[in-house]
């Protein structure tokens, strides 16, 4: 093809909505520029630097970004992050959220649009967000993200804790006290173990179909549901309510309401053996409640939500980033209030938390730069028609097209 003609085609064809996109982008960039915190450069006299610092701090406290930085300086927010966006009209960081409301699960798209999937209970994303597994009493269903059901199976007991495998080919769930697995097309529903503890099972993160769970005696077990084979077991950490794998499968996290434990796990597909190491307690401030913990999607950093007693009836919530290999945790955020729901963005750049008393979602940058974004009016956004009665929804998952 002629190069000049190709140049003309690429440059001259009108783009859809180009003017609107440019206008929106200009607003976003100008706001970001206005809110940035410049790095001091040693080119000004000290007095000028001091004056600039005072001006900067004053500006920070009065600006939305400043509201975020103010906390990092040492104070805490009280009653909500100021200058929050008034409504959920965009999902910072993109992707899709799965949100659990009293009416059922919702899918929230990157542009803030949302759809109630129907009268279901708990829900789980498929690994690439093309489907949702959802429970309703004794039924487990696979739905498209618009709510269209693809299949459903029934069990003899109430179904809880559905978890779609990272491979996309299996769904684990608990029916009463039985751990079961079904193929992702609804076939071959089978029991993996009976009499287990009511703690959600956790799929090994790679393509291996391995499940970690706690048996009825709270013993940690790893099973291969395809081979119907118990692979390994070890004494579980006391009071465990949640299990999670590091993204490379080398560590298993056990969270109890007052402690975090990690243990190394070696999985050899070739010899079909799993080695479970000794649990190691992660040092955390004494007396703190561990509200949530989650591995980064890309490394072994663990985000931890701590709830600490304060002089008032309101606890203090802190979000920490912890390296399980050791070293002091990094405090990311703190508020005077009770936060919940700690979820990583798919690209690992942000954390999403709920602040029910302030009716806000908080999007925290996980890195050392960036702005905290808060969105108001969350409860009513998931209670159409009865905002006055709205209860605060729970974040069930953030999937998958990180940007």
């Amino acid at each position: 093809m002629n190069e000049d003609r190709l140049r003309r085609l690429l440059r001259d064809e009108p783009l859809p909505g180009a003017a609107d996109a440019e206008r929106r982008g200009r607003g976003v960039i100008e706001r970001a520029y206005a809110e940035r915190v410049p790095i001091d450069r040693p080119v000004l006299p000290r007095l000028a630097l001091a004056l600039a610092a005072v001006t900067l701090l004053a500006g920070l406290v009065l600006s939305p970004a400043g509201a975020a930085v103010r906390d990092w300086i040492g104070d805490t927010f009280d009653g909500g992050v100021p200058n929050a966006r008034p409504a959920l009209d965009e999902l910072p960081g993109g992707g899709q959220l799965l949100v659990q409301s009293s009416d059922g699960p919702w899918v929230v798209q990157a542009d803030g649009s949302r759809r109630l999937l129907g009268r279901y209970g708990e829900a789980t994303w498929s690994p690439r967000g093309l489907f949702v597994g959802a429970t309703a009493g004794r039924t487990l269903s696979a739905l498209e993200p618009d709510g269209t059901p693809r299949w459903a199976i029934s069990a003899g007991s109430a179904i809880d804790d559905p978890r779609w495998s990272p491979s996309g080919f299996r769904i684990a769930y608990r029916a009463g006290r039985n751990l079961r697995v079904v193929d992702a097309d609804g076939d071959d529903d089978r029991v993996v173990d009976t009499g287990i503890s009511p703690v959600p099972a956790a799929w090994f993160p790679s393509g291996l179909h391995l499940l970690a769970y706690l048996d009825g005696g709270a013993r940690l077990r790893i099973a291969d549901p395809d081979a119907d084979k118990a692979m390994a077991s070890a004494e579980g950490s006391p009071g465990t309510v949640e299990l999670a794998w590091a993204p490379d499968g080398s560590l298993l996290l056990e969270r109890s309401p007052d402690a975090l434990w990690v243990r190394e796990v070696s999985a050899s597909k070739l010899v079909g053996r799993i080695g479970i190491g000794t649990a190691r307690r992660i040092p955390l401030p004494t007396g703190a409640e561990v509200g949530a913990a989650a591995f980064s999607p890309h490394n072994e950093t663990i985000a931890v939500l701590l709830l600490r007693r304060s002089d008032t009836a309101t606890p203090r919530s802190e979000v920490l980033l912890v390296d399980p290999a050791g070293g002091p945790p990094r405090r990311l955020f703190a508020v005077s209030g009770r936060l919940s729901d700690l979820v990583w963005s798919p690209d690992g750049s942000r954390l999403l938390l709920s602040w029910p008393d302030a009716d806000q979602w908080l999007f925290l940058p996980a890195g050392r730069t960036g702005r905290i974004l808060a969105i108001d009016g969350i409860a009513s956004a998931f209670a159409p028609g009865e905002p006055a009665l709205a209860s605060f929804p729970r974040i069930a998952g953030w999937c998958c097209s990180g940007r």
Binding site: M1, N2, E3, R5, L6, R7, L9, L10, R11, E13, P14, L15, P16, G17, A18, A21, E22, R24, G25, R26, V28, I29, E30, A32, Y33, A34, R36, P38, I39, R41, G94, A110, D111, S126, P127, R128, G129, L130, F131, A142, E144, R150, W151, S167, G168, F169, D183, A184, D185, G186, T369, G370, C400, S401, R403
Partner: protein
């Protein structure tokens, strides 16, 4: 180039006018490049915005001796390639029940051109866009995408041939 360095320097010093000028100069190319690689208006807008936000976030660390546009375009094109790859994976599906039909490509921009570009892999689209929309040399493209120059040249040659096959000869 001198003007651009001046704008970056002034933006580093806090000039809103400078950042507005940089935006005005570079948004159209960044947005168009993203669109031509991803073929999705919303994604292209997000990618271009993200690239500019990255520029703002890293403004203080930016080396003023280096040109701004290649740095911005490198972010845009790499993110666009990542997005296009992810989208291709999404269309392949999630497992045994994943037969959701792929969305039809957006065709607002010359249908023939977009359909033809859509036949190229994202990496090849990116090279074509960098060369024929943004006018980078094969050597510059190789550095931006961390490819060998020969790889860039062969992608350009194959891309041109393929587009020539797909787009009707101008009458």
């Amino acid at each position: 180039m001198g003007t651009e360095r001046k704008l970056v320097r002034e933006a580093q010093r806090g000039s809103r006018a400078a950042i507005a000028d940089l935006y005005e100069a570079h948004w159209p190319g960044a947005h168009r490049a993203a669109y031509l690689v991803v073929h999705d208006a919303a994604a292209a807008e997000d990618i271009a915005q993200d690239a500019f936000l990255a520029a703002v976030d890293n403004l203080d660390r930016f080396d003023r001796r280096r040109p701004f546009a290649p740095w911005l375009h490198r972010i845009v094109v790499n993110r666009a390639i990542d997005w296009a790859r992810r989208e291709a994976l999404r269309r392949k599906g999630d497992g045994p029940i994943a037969e959701s039909p792929a969305p039809a490509p957006r065709q607002e921009v010359g249908e023939e051109l977009m359909a033809a570009l859509g036949q190229l892999p994202p990496e090849q689209r990116a090279v074509v866009v960098l060369r024929y929309l943004l006018d980078y040399t094969p050597g510059e493209i190789a550095r931006m995408l961390e490819l060998r120059r020969g790889t860039v040249n062969s992608r350009l040659r194959r891309g041109l041939d393929r587009l020539g096959d797909l787009i009707e000869v101008e009458g």
